[in-house]
Every structure is written in C-alpha cells, then in structure tokens.
C-alpha cells in the first residue's frame, strides 16, 4: 500500500455499502476515521507505511451500521461514493461521509489481509 508520487496507486479493495442510521437529527454511520493530508502520519497505528496520509478507520461502534456492513477497524478508505479519499484533508473526508442528502455510502476499502489473500490464492493457483 505504499505510495510512490507520480505513479498510479494499485490496491486490492473491498466494496462496502453502509446504510446510514437515523439517530434523532443526525444520520450516523457508526465508525470513526483518522488521518488526512493535514495530519501527522507517524501517529497512525494502523498504517503499514508511516508516511501514508490516507483515511483510516480507527474505531467501529459495535452493532452499528458499519459493523453490520462488514467494515473492519484499520481499514483504509480509498473512495466514498466515487470521491477519492487517498489525498484529502481530514475535514474533507468527514464532509464526504456525512452528507445529509445521502442515505447510503458506498466505500472502497483496502486492508492488508485482502492483499495476502489474493497473493495466497495466486500462489496456490500457480501451483496448479
């Protein structure tokens, strides 16, 4: 998941669709995000590369919409409803996720285990 400036980013992603839950006035998704290009990447506990300034999932409220949709803690969010999340500030990411007019958010997330799974299946495929 390391990022080389100028080169396209390739990653194995999972599509996650979360329905927003209405709680009083607000529509909540049930997770917390951290990271952004205006934040300090060295303090991110979930990233492999400590210079990665992407948006990461830092906390999932149990039994919330994100938990039910299959989002895992430590996931890096690559896209939200088509909007890129790899080069945004923290506030911009928050805004894209909390648009009042949208009921559902479709995320593209990536995590280490996805890569490993693909690699593993490739190897086993190569064997055969």
């Amino acid at each position: 998941m390391s990022f080389v400036p100028g080169q396209p980013v390739t990653a194995v992603v999972e599509r996650v669709e979360i329905q927003k839950l209405r709680q009083g006035e607000n529509l909540i998704l049930g997770f917390s995000i951290g990271g952004g290009i205006d934040q300090d990447p060295g303090q991110n506990p979930f990233s492999e590369d400590k210079s990665d300034k992407g948006i990461y999932v830092t906390r999932i409220s149990p039994k919330g919409p994100a938990d039910l949709a299959g989002l895992k803690i430590g996931d890096k969010i690559m896209q939200v409803n088509g909007w890129d999340m790899t080069m945004v500030t923290h506030d911009q990411a928050r805004k894209k996720l909390t648009k009042k007019k949208e009921d559902v958010v479709r995320l593209l997330v990536t995590r280490k285990s996805l890569e490993d799974a693909v690699k593993h299946s490739k190897c086993s495929y190569a064997k055969h």
Binding site: I28, L29, F31, S32, I33, G34, D38, Q39, D40, Q43, N44, T58, R59, S61, H90, R94, L97, T98
Partner: protein, 513 residues
C-alpha cells in the same frame, strides 16, 4: 581622599626567596629611591611619565606616611612606631616632589636648550639654515605642546592610593626617561658643544629626534600603565569576612597591589555598609547553648587516661541531645522581620503625611494671597525643620529596629530632608536612603584617610595568577580576594538559512461519523 596602607610584615617574611633578593633589592632601592620618589604629591609635571595615574604611590619598602599636606593622628602613631626610618621618611617626602619637578622640567627644557645653546655661544660661525629649519621648528613646537597636553590629561592626577611597594612599570619608565635624557645630553656635550658644531640644521634635527623619542616613550607609558590592564583576564571574588557579602569583578593583568587598590575602589561603591549591630543569632539563642553536661567519675582511681574518653563522651552526648535552637532562631527572625515591617509602614505613612504640609511657593501666589492671612515664606532649612517634627518619632523607631541609628544623626536627617525638598523629591525618594543599606561610600566622612593592610603570600608586585589569594585587612573587617582566570572561549560559527524556518502541524484527530 588620601589612602594609605601600612607595610605588612607577612609578605616580607613568609617567602624564602626574599632573603636572597634582599641584597639586590637594597641596591635597586637605593638607585630607584633617587629617581622614583617622584611622587606622592599633586603638582609634579613630567612630560613623559607616569607621573601620576590613579594609583600613584609610594615607592619604597618602608612604611610610608600620608601625602605632603595632611597628616592625621594615625600617621603620627605610625611615625612614632618607625622612628628608625623617620629620617628616610622625611627625605622622601620633600625630595620626591623636587626630583619630579626637576626631571620633568629638564626633559621639557632639553630640546629648547639644544636649540638655544649654539645660538648663544657661537652664533656667528653657524651655517644659515633656511626653510627646512623652520619646518623643524614648527614641528618641534607642536610636538612639545602635544606632549604637555597629553601629560596633563593623563598623568597629572592626585594620587588616590599609597601602595606598599614601588610600582615596577613606573620605575622602569622613569629610569628609562632619565637614562634617555642623560644619554642625549652626553652626546650633545661631546659632539656639539666641544667641537662647536656649525651645522645648525643637524642640531635642530637632533632636538627634533629627542622630542619624537619622548613622544614614543609616552606612548609606551600609556600602553603599559593605562591600556594593558583594560582587557579582562581574571575574575576576582571578593568576600567580606564579617557578613559574607561577596562580589565578582573582572580585571586585566595587574600586579597584586594595583588590583588591591582597584578592588577597594569598587568596594566603596558596591558593598553595602557593614553594620556590626546586625548579629547572626539573637542573644537568647546563643546563651542557651552554653549549658554543658557534667560528667562524674564513679569509682575510678586514675582519671588521666579517662580524660580523652570523658571529653569524647561529652561531645557525643552534646551532639545527641535534641537541639531546638533552630526552631527558636526561625521564630525570632520572623518576629524581627514583622516588627521591622510594621515600623517601616508607620514611617512611610508619617513621611508622606509630612510632605503634604508644605509646597513650593510660586511667585504669583504672593499677589493673590490675602493680606489678612499672609503665608509664611520659609527657606528650605526652615521648611525641613518644620516638617521633621511629625516624622521624627517614626523615623527614630524605624532606625532602632534596623539598627541603623548610629549612622544617621538628627542633623544628618534634617540635612537630607532639606536637600530633598530643594530638589522636589517625593517622600519615597527621601526614604530610599534609610530603607536600604547603601554603599559604604555614602557613610564615609572624607576627612579621614582609609587605612588598609594588604596581606599576601606572594610578593605584592607580582602580577595576578590563578589561585592567588590575598586579603585586605582593616581593624574590624577584612576582604578576602580569590583570583581565577577567565575561561578561554571557543566560539564556533553556524549559518542558518532564513528560508529554512518551516513548520508542520502535528495533529492526529479522530472524528466519528
């Protein structure tokens, strides 16, 4: 102010190398006595030298008296003590100004004499000398003028300290000038006067070269006496033995006696006045410590070998006994401080109130004040006396509390009050003299000289070195001076590009969505 110092026997006896140098010193003393007794008075004019700078002083190893004009009681007792050297004392007192005047006059007159003698004696046979000579005359005149002015500016100062030993650089320079002028006269006598030299231009050139050389000697004197010790090289720590007040000073390369004189100058203006009435521990605590244990010998016949055991037992017992005197000291000190603060508050209020009773009389008021109640116009002295009465008692009590009553008499307080009123000072300005113990200079009466004894293990004309310790003693207190060299500084350079000042945010915020 005349300072004087007495010869201290310590520095003379305590080092063995002295005895071997005694012979040489006696001889040197004899020669130099003639030339170096220069001064000790205020009026000598030497065109070149060191006549007098700040520490112009005594030059011999014997006890010295005060300056020519004044002699106080202490000096009389000193004189009677050293009756053996009294004749030398007298000699020095009267010959030194005379010698100095003579030497100065001679060096001043010499170039003019060089020019005048051929003209007077064999005018007819001299070669005529045109414009080059006139140029030389003018330059000669101006150089002599410059010599005179700079000697007056730099060296003609009344001595402020009488040092125990002669000042090496000064003697050196005096001897140099004497030899120099003497050798010029010698050559002049042999080469010009005897054969009746006719080349007048050469003679004028000779005189001009003498004046040039005198100017250079004066430059040497300036550097050795005034400039060399300006760059700081040592740090002196001065501690007063009675109450521990200490200061640090930076000095350059000086001899011990000059450093001592310099330290004393600073002492008078930096150190707060020594008040013997302020003791460390109040009497109540000191007397309590006197009680001791009594040890009884039970059933021992020979008490001799038990005496040490006895004293040791006593000391051990005294150490183990629970000592509460620190407690009493603490409370006593708090009590004294509270009392002083209360009295100070009363004093400040009384003074403020007293100052409101008078105000400056303006000229226009004289017209407007009614004729029925004419205001009494007073001069400062009367005004001071008028407002002194209400604050006298508060002032007296405050001075008693801080044990300053010996330093301020009623007369001096009224004088100070008059001074403050004349200069439109506020009550606070009037009080600053009494609230803070000022420097010693403030309490001196300028009639008496100050007598200090310089005690040192090294010869006092040696220059300062690391680890020297000398002390300046007076009857009631002494100043201990320790010498440490200033550290050598390694200063390295680092260039910072002004564009290199950049900053990033160090945040990690978490938002729940």
């Amino acid at each position: 102010m005349d300072n004087e110092s007495t010869y201290s026997g310590y520095s003379y006896k305590s080092s063995h190398s002295r005895s071997s140098r005694r012979q040489g010193e006696r001889f040197l003393f004899f020669i130099l006595c003639l030339v170096t007794n220069v001064l000790h008075s205020r009026s000598i004019s030497d065109t070149d030298l060191f006549l007098q700078d700040d520490n112009w002083g005594e030059t011999t190893t014997v006890v010295t008296g005060t300056s020519v004009d004044s002699i106080s009681n202490e000096d009389l007792t000193q004189l009677s003590k050293d009756s053996g050297d009294s004749s030398a004392l007298e000699c020095r007192r009267y010959i030194s100004p005379a010698l100095g005047v003579i030497l100065g006059f001679v060096s001043l007159i010499t170039p003019l004499a060089f020019l005048a003698l051929p003209q007077l004696l064999w005018r007819d046979s001299l070669d005529p000398c045109g414009t080059p000579c006139e140029g030389l005359y003018i330059s000669l005149a101006f150089k002599l003028l410059i010599l005179l002015i700079s000697t007056w500016a730099l060296f003609l100062r009344p001595p402020r300290a009488a040092l125990p030993r002669f000042f090496v650089f000064r003697c050196l320079l005096l001897a140099l000038v004497f030899l120099f002028v003497a050798s010029y006269w010698l050559f002049y006598g042999v080469r010009v006067l005897e054969p009746r030299e006719t080349d007048y231009r050469g003679i004028v050139g000779y005189a001009a070269s003498l004046v040039d050389a005198l100017l250079f000697i004066q430059y040497l004197a300036l550097v050795l006496l005034e400039v060399r010790h300006l760059q700081p090289a040592f740090s002196l720590k001065v501690v007063r033995s009675t109450d521990g007040v200490s200061r640090f000073y930076n000095v350059g390369h000086l001899s011990i006696q000059r450093a001592a004189a310099w330290v004393l100058d600073q002492y008078y203006s930096d150190f707060p006045v020594y008040n013997p009435a302020l003791l460390n521990l109040p009497k109540s605590i000191l007397t309590k410590k006197m009680s001791a244990f009594k040890v009884y010998n039970l059933g021992e016949d020979n008490s001799t070998n038990n005496s040490t055991g006895q004293s040791r037992a006593m000391i051990a017992a005294a150490a183990r006994r629970r000592d509460n005197s620190h407690n009493e000291y603490y409370y006593e000190e708090a009590e004294v401080e509270r009392k002083v603060r209360k009295r100070k508050a009363r004093l400040v209020v009384a003074v403020e109130e007293a100052f409101t009773h008078i105000k400056r009389h303006q000229q226009e008021d004289a017209v407007t004040s009614s004729p029925k109640h004419p205001r009494e116009v007073m001069d400062p002295r009367e005004a001071a006396q008028a407002i002194f009465a209400p604050m006298a008692r508060a002032m007296q009590k405050y001075l008693r509390a801080t044990r300053q009553q010996t330093y301020h008499s009623m007369e001096s307080i009224i004088n100070h009050l008059q001074f403050c009123i004349t200069h439109n000072m506020t009550p606070k300005a009037f009080l600053e003299r009494y609230l803070v113990p000022g420097p010693t200079l403030q309490y001196l009466d300028s009639n008496r000289g100050r007598q200090w004894t310089l005690v040192s293990e090294e010869p006092v004309t040696a220059s300062l070195r690391q680890g020297h310790v000398f002390s300046l003693r007076r009857l009631d207190l002494s100043l201990i001076v320790t010498v440490t060299p200033l550290p050598f500084l390694h200063i390295a350079e680092e260039f910072i590009d002004p564009k290199s000042h950049k900053f990033v945010m160090k945040l990690q915020s978490e938002t729940s969505v």
